[in-house]
Subunit: 435 residues, 2 copies
């Protein structure tokens, strides 16, 4: 009945790259099992039973079901990190608003629970009554129309998995000196969800697009009236009016009751609390696409409308949030994504980029969604530099930091996507370095 009657024997000498990277299929098939026993893994993680009992929760009746279940009171650390937004704009307005970053080190898989999705707003979260809110589509259309939330829910909907990343994510890595910030602080403006909504093309079809329309201007109903211009091609491709996130209605911090969603574009273009889409023959040149969200180049000129994001990956475990307690086999895992399509391959190095090994990718791989990669690693207790690099289906390869800075200089603050390095010290401590 059992397909393997004996303890699995693993060849921990069958390395896929230097520094202890093992074959990515280790543990996934017993067919690769060959020589050395798995004693090292056991020593590192599981424990022999030595007779001591565990706390006996069976002695007392438990608590009742709730209408909306809570997280465990022991998970207090798994929260978004609130970082004050100290830009001049906010100081002038005497507003202190936070940028809230997803605890990537506290998550596995690819879905971010709605309560932990990263959050960046320019003037706070409006408290919108959905019965009094609607989206207007107007401008260069034949029939201007408006849609409330229940109207949208009667249209044909689609559900698709997409990542979202703020274009300012990882911006601190443009700095000359390596930061001592954590994984969550550096890279936490990144989340993944199953989004449900109506394709914008469906609604534009109903309104009838005028022949000279070339851009849509999306505007939010928040105090900041976030306004962004999106090429009509994108609007007719995969843009949607999102009304649900991981099944339930999107939360106020994510744009309740409706938001624009531009898969693979910088997060800021997916305008929250959406109230207006105006079709135009030109972009509106809002503050968010002139003074901000442009890529300053070494010659002090700026690239504008660099909306589609590049290919990128990060290792989330092991990372700065943990230290390695014992020698043994660990799983190196992380996330990869591309603003253009699917992730094709992710490689990992533990020797600072000298040798690379292919990782296992968790399928099915969605276009423009986080892809989880994994590879087992035998850590022998010596120094190591952990890096990942992603390649997408179009052959775009994540650059080294040097390659990125050679091309872009250090004036930029947006779209940092170079290979990231974690330094593992012999005592098991982990910190960010440039390597």
């Amino acid at each position: 009945m059992s397909k393997n009657k004996n303890s699995l024997i693993i060849d921990t000498t069958n390395h896929a790259a230097k520094g202890g990277l093992l074959n990515r299929r280790l543990f996934l098939s017993s067919a690769i099992a060959t020589t050395a026993a798995l004693a090292t893994t056991r020593a590192a993680h599981s424990q022999e039973i030595v007779g001591e009992g565990q706390d006996d929760w069976t002695l007392y009746p438990g608590s009742d079901a709730l209408e909306y279940s809570n997280r465990s009171r022991f998970e207090v650390d798994s929260v978004k990190r609130l970082i004050p937004n100290d830009s001049q704009e906010f100081l002038d307005l005497r507003l202190t608003k936070y940028v809230a970053r997803t605890p990537l080190d506290h998550l596995l898989g690819t879905i971010t629970p709605n309560g932990l999705h990263f959050e960046r707003s320019h003037q706070g979260i409006p408290d919108i009554d959905p019965d009094k809110h609607f989206l207007v589509i107007h401008g260069k259309v034949k029939n201007p129309l408006k849609f409330d939330i229940s109207a949208l829910e009667n249209y044909p909907t689609v559900s698709r998995n997409y990542y979202m990343e703020c274009s300012g994510n990882s911006a601190v890595l443009f700095d000359e000196t390596p930061t001592d910030q954590s994984l969550q602080e550096i890279h936490g403006l990144l989340s993944g969800s199953e989004w449900t909504g109506v394709l914008l093309s469906t609604l534009l079809d109903e309104c009838g697009i005028s022949p000279d329309a070339k851009w849509i201007i999306a505007e939010g109903a928040d105090n900041g009236m976030m306004t962004r211009s999106i090429p009509l091609d994108k609007a007719l491709d995969d843009a949607m009016i999102a009304i649900r996130q991981n099944g339930e209605r999107i939360r106020p911090s994510q744009g309740y009751p409706m938001r624009l969603l531009n898969p693979g574009f910088e997060g800021n273009t997916s305008v929250k609390w959406l109230r207006s889409i105006y079709l135009s023959d030109r972009p509106v040149m809002s503050v968010q696409e002139t003074a901000k969200y442009t890529d300053m180049m070494p010659d002090d000129k700026a690239l504008q409308f660099t909306l589609e994001q590049d290919v990128k990956s990060i290792i989330t475990r092991p990372s700065s949030a943990m230290s390695l307690k014992k020698k043994g086999v660990y799983e190196i895992t992380g996330l990869a994504w591309s603003g253009k399509g699917k992730i094709a391959r992710v490689e990992v190095s533990v020797d600072g980029g000298n040798t690379w090994a292919d990782t296992a990718l968790e399928g099915p791989i969605h276009s423009k969604m986080l892809t989880r990669f994994r590879i087992p690693w035998m850590w022998e207790g010596s120094s190591a530099i952990l890096q990942s690099r992603a390649i997408d289906e179009f052959g775009r390869r994540q650059p080294s930091r040097k390659e990125l800075l050679d091309a872009r200089g250090t004036n930029g603050i947006y779209h940092y996507h170079a290979i990231h390095s974690w330094d593992v010290a012999p005592n098991g401590e982990i910190k960010h370095v440039y390597a």
Copy 2:
């Protein structure tokens, strides 16, 4: 730049089945557009702009980010429905525990937010400190071992989308008289998640399975000490020790800090608060597999260990939770699943099963996970009976109620999976019927 310069023209006379079922690709491609204008859809859902303004949320700064974002205060109805468990067992113990059902009518997509996952416990939810809890694997193994939560997180993990359904879901439909219960009350013991954990085969490999082991006995650390026997084949196939649900650690109501997960098996076998897996040459014959969770047949004998679930589907919109306000095009959508593998096809009828039309399935389709189906429907304001039937990749077809009762009788309370019928009255009201 635009791929369609003109308003989309839809042939609403191009029916896929009787009663107004339109081609499932309507709205998904403008290539099918041919003759009649979409005026009916617009009349039903969107509105012309008549000059009135919307509430102006832009006038006031919004609220700040939170460490864990909340849902909107306007979403008060989107909660689990708590139904008292009035079985004799609980009355004897003077405990009133609830069965909490997922609001399927309030969800779209396939992921259930963790707070809304259905919930059924026999003696309540224990408040487990993860630092004092571990899983022991023992019995017919070479090396008994124990694993705490951090040990498990250092093993190679997998993330997979699986549905979970209580075997008692939809049980009221065995009754001779049609129930007036809602979608949520009838079918709400059903949810879908991205689960992350360690394959049980990985841990069993480490322990070394004795040649005469044929079953695993899983036991929970709750007051009820839920105990179920699972064939070793399943344990070595896709069973996992789940530690995370939709990214974050599973919540107390779902088995924090760890649960067994048997994809496609009746929910009760996925033992929550898992503390022991004992390998044996025989099942343990616990109360949960003798007095309960067996299928009583017409001859008063019972089938035991009917663990793998059949193929099933339900329409979630339109359903009892809503009524149709106007004539026009609506989306009929729902969920389909199979305990054995992938959903291959879902058909919908609006004339009580006389004619059927293929629906569009939202991909990628996961094995043993909810699959969302959709088809547009032109409702002309007359009576209709809405039904769905699913077929899985093995050709198993969801039976009619008559077929199910002919085979199983009406003594059963578990594993009801027949075609479900919603009656739409000319005034747009919707209720459950047998048809």
